[in-house]
């Protein structure tokens, strides 16, 4: 097999595919990328057996055939070559030669026949929606996903589909993000699926802000994302997600309207003197004011007061400042609504009158 391609034409699909290639080398071939040349153009595939990325480019000349090359090295070579360089890649037995200008690289190949592909069952559901709302949905929730939690089903994002509604839910057990968007065409059933962390992070990378549509295909074990030049397939997490609807407070005793930048700035300053590891801050509410205080093990203290429209009994509640700041940063409105009940119950954060993106944060006992 032999191909000739412009650096830029290879760089884009290669960097999309490279992220999927395995770095930990459980199977040597997983750190390679598969190049398949046919009349339709060049197709690149990378996989770690959990996710698979297939990217196309048609700006190629060459003979049909397939080979595998070390993904990271190929990507680094591509990046390091000068702009507009032409690459000539040719396979000879178990080596491949890459020539460009006066550079020459000899790379190890592994048999293309050994390159694994993810076997997917029949797709049961197909959704079509614009890229932008899907990207927003993922971006507004992804930071709440757990990381290497023993509750493996939390190390991913729940897609909850019902009728015209697609909800994305992420939680690490301490705080939770719930975002929703409306589907152009409703589905006739309900469905829940859990997409692993890596899958979500890759999807965000692939999705753009253009008004171009993206197709999602779903079956009990996999989800696939189809774009013009790219197909992304990801294994789903097999597990039961906790009933998230139960932990969204139905009615908060207090609903405070606070300037978003004001709250973010205050938390940012006060949290500097909180315990570096636990990040606890104490909120004290009195009629008309909210006092935010932090202490650290060195007995230093930070304090700031916000004017709020609070009426009612005095309330003291502790939070991990990072959880509140993450939510406040993800929201975009000028003001936010901050809902509270008591020192042992969760708080809610969302834009006033709009719960399409909402955050639930459990308090800390300080």
């Amino acid at each position: 097999m032999r191909i000739q391609i412009q650096r830029e034409d290879l760089l884009k699909p290669l960097s999309l595919v490279g992220g999927a290639a395995e770095r930990r080398q459980t199977l040597p071939i997983l750190s390679n990328v598969l190049l398949r040349m046919s009349d339709a153009g060049l197709v690149l595939t990378g996989t770690d057996l959990e996710v698979e990325v297939v990217a196309k480019t048609n700006q190629t000349k060459g003979e049909a055939g397939e080979m595998t090359l070390p993904a990271r090295k190929l990507l680094e070579i591509c990046r390091a070559l000068p702009a507009q360089a032409t690459l000539d890649i040719k396979q000879e037995k178990d080596k491949a030669t890459l020539k460009s200008g006066r550079s020459r690289f000899s790379l190890m190949t592994l048999p293309a026949g050994d390159f694994p592909s993810i076997e997917t069952a029949q797709w049961e559901q197909t959704l079509t929606l614009e890229q932008k709302p899907l990207k927003t949905l993922l971006e507004k929730t992804q930071f709440c996903m757990a990381q290497q939690d023993v509750r493996y089903y939390l190390n991913g994002m729940l897609f909850d589909l019902s009728g015209k509604q697609l909800r994305a839910v992420a939680t690490d057990g301490h705080r939770m993000a719930v975002s929703e968007t409306t589907l152009p065409t409703p589905i006739d059933s309900t469905r829940q699926l859990i997409v692993p962390r890596k899958g979500i992070q890759e999807m965000i990378r692939f999705l753009g802000d253009e008004k171009v549509e993206v197709q999602l295909q779903i079956n009990p074990n996999h989800i696939r994302l189809n774009l013009a030049d790219l197909t992304f397939t990801c294994k789903l997490i097999d597990g039961r997600y906790p009933d998230y609807t139960k932990v969204i407070p139905s009615g908060q005793r207090t609903l405070l309207r606070i300037g978003r930048e004001e709250l973010r700035g205050t938390l940012n300053r006060v949290a500097i003197l909180s315990n570096e590891k636990f990040r606890g801050v104490r909120l004290s509410l009195k009629t008309g004011s909210m006092n935010i205080v932090a202490h650290n093990p060195e007995h230093e203290e930070a304090q700031e007061e916000l004017t709020v429209d609070y009426k009612g009994e005095d309330l003291e509640i502790g939070f991990n400042a990072n959880y509140i700041m993450d939510a406040v940063s993800a929201l975009e409105s000028d003001d936010i609504e901050f809902g509270l009940s008591d020192a042992n119950s969760s708080c809610t954060l969302h834009s006033p009158g709009d719960t399409s993106h909402q955050y639930v944060v459990m308090p800390m006992r300080l």
Binding site: V150, T171, H174, M176, V247, K277, N344, M362, R365
Partner: protein
């Protein structure tokens, strides 16, 4: 006595090994035991020697022997129950004193330490001279307890060296002589070559460290991976292990216990499991930790049963841990005699008062007053027990438990949560 540049060691490690440590402490504190064969056991009821004095060793008595075997070899042997708190206190004093020599000290166990003195040669003098200083520090801190010292260019060589002359020996192996010195030593002297690896190497015709070094590296790597490479290097005095001064935060917290012979009564096994569960929970609480997974194991005369249970993060609760242990009994135990039980918490995180969205059981929400009461009760019990002794206040199920003295774990360290030895 600054050292001249000609005999400057590129790397210098001192290994200090306290001789028959527990027995030596007993003899130091009770003059009537001096010059007599003594064996230390876990409590009065212990049947296994955790160490014995040199007078007993002269009769062929060894650490790990059953008491009755020891009596057969040495009828006059005196049994002494261990006093782990005293040993830990003596050890802590010794380790703190050694810091005067160099701060680069790795406490390897309650009676062993490595000191990296590479950077102190200009200050204190030659490594052999520093070994004498170390001995003086140990003796002053411990009122004259014996120790063996090895000085070499690497940790493993220093450890081998300290083993050679006991008690109160000093063996110096300059780095440039290490290879030749190791050459004729039996390979089993290297810490890490146990009976299993030794058998493998013997089959390849290796007997000494020199023989192992002469084997192709490949042979060891293919069989034992990085460990193989490490041992191959160690046999030539080329191991590069650094002296680790930082004590890592614990990855797991566990307690286990050997049961009386032929225990088949579920009630007794449950008591032991409950005891271990409560110990694990109390220790986690004491150090402000929580766990996400609990491992429970039963060892039979032949074989074992084990299971890992996902437990919700939150204030550790011995009763909940015990429920996991019970599930293992229900699911896997078929009436066999249990020789040992183990309860270990893994996936350790700091307990920081953060409440959980999805609490333990559907019934108890985090703000739930029953949950809150349970946490407060556990913390109150902990405070009482911290003052009056472990298990002063304990679940009624533990009333019938047998005396189970605490022991010093191999992971014991003079500071932090690893210094933990309850009363």
């Amino acid at each position: 006595m600054p050292t001249s540049p000609t005999n400057y060691w590129p790397r210098a490690i001192i290994h200090i090994d306290m001789n028959a440590f527990f027995a030596a402490v007993e003899q130091r504190d009770f003059p009537e035991l001096r010059d007599r064969p003594i064996g230390v056991t876990n409590g009065e009821a212990g049947t296994t020697l955790i160490t014995c004095s040199y007078e007993a060793r002269a009769f062929g008595v060894k650490t790990g022997m059953r008491l009755y075997e020891a009596r057969r070899l040495c009828p006059d042997i005196v049994q002494r129950p261990a006093r782990p708190r005293v040993y830990a206190a003596v050890s802590t004093r010794i380790m703190r004193a050694l810091v005067d020599l160099s701060p680069d000290i790795e406490v390897f166990s309650v009676d062993e330490a490595f000191i990296d003195v590479t950077h102190c040669q200009r200050l204190h003098g030659s490594p052999p001279h520093m070994a004498h200083m170390a001995r003086a520090l140990v003796q002053r801190a411990s009122n004259g307890l014996p120790c063996s010292i090895g000085v070499a260019g690497t940790k493993l060589s220093a450890k081998v060296a300290s083993e050679l002359k006991k008690p109160n020996g000093l063996t110096v192996v300059p780095p440039w002589e290490t290879r030749a010195w190791l050459h004729d030593l039996p390979m089993e002297k290297i810490c890490g070559i146990g009976p299993h690896i030794a058998e493998f190497l013997t089959r390849l015709g290796a007997r000494t460290c020199g023989d192992v070094a002469a084997l192709p590296l490949n042979v060891l790597v293919r069989r034992y991976g990085v460990v193989g490479k490490h041992l191959w290097l160690a046999c030539q005095g080329l191991d590069t292990d650094p002296v680790v001064t930082e004590v890592g935060s614990p990855k797991s917290v566990g307690h286990g216990k050997v049961l009386p012979p032929r225990t088949t009564a579920r009630r007794t096994i449950e008591t032991y499991l409950r005891h271990m569960s409560e110990k694990v929970a109390a220790r986690l609480r004491r150090y402000g930790l929580q766990t996400g997974r609990l491992y429970v194991g039963l060892r039979y005369t032949q074989g074992y049963a084990e299971a890992a249970f996902e437990v919700p993060y939150g204030p550790p609760d011995g009763k909940r841990f015990f429920e996991c242990a019970r599930r293992l009994l229900d699911g896997q135990w078929q009436g066999q005699a249990v020789t040992q039980v183990q309860v270990t918490a893994t996936h350790i995180k700091d307990l920081n008062g953060q409440l959980d969205l999805f609490p333990a059981d559907a019934a108890g929400s985090p703000g739930d007053s029953a949950e809150l009461r349970r946490v407060r009760r556990a913390l109150a019990i902990d405070r009482i027990n911290a003052r009056f002794g472990e298990f002063t206040l304990a679940p009624a199920e533990l009333l019938g438990r047998s005396a189970m003295p605490n022991v010093i774990a191999p992971a014991w360290r003079p500071d932090g949560m690893r210094q933990h030895i309850p009363d």
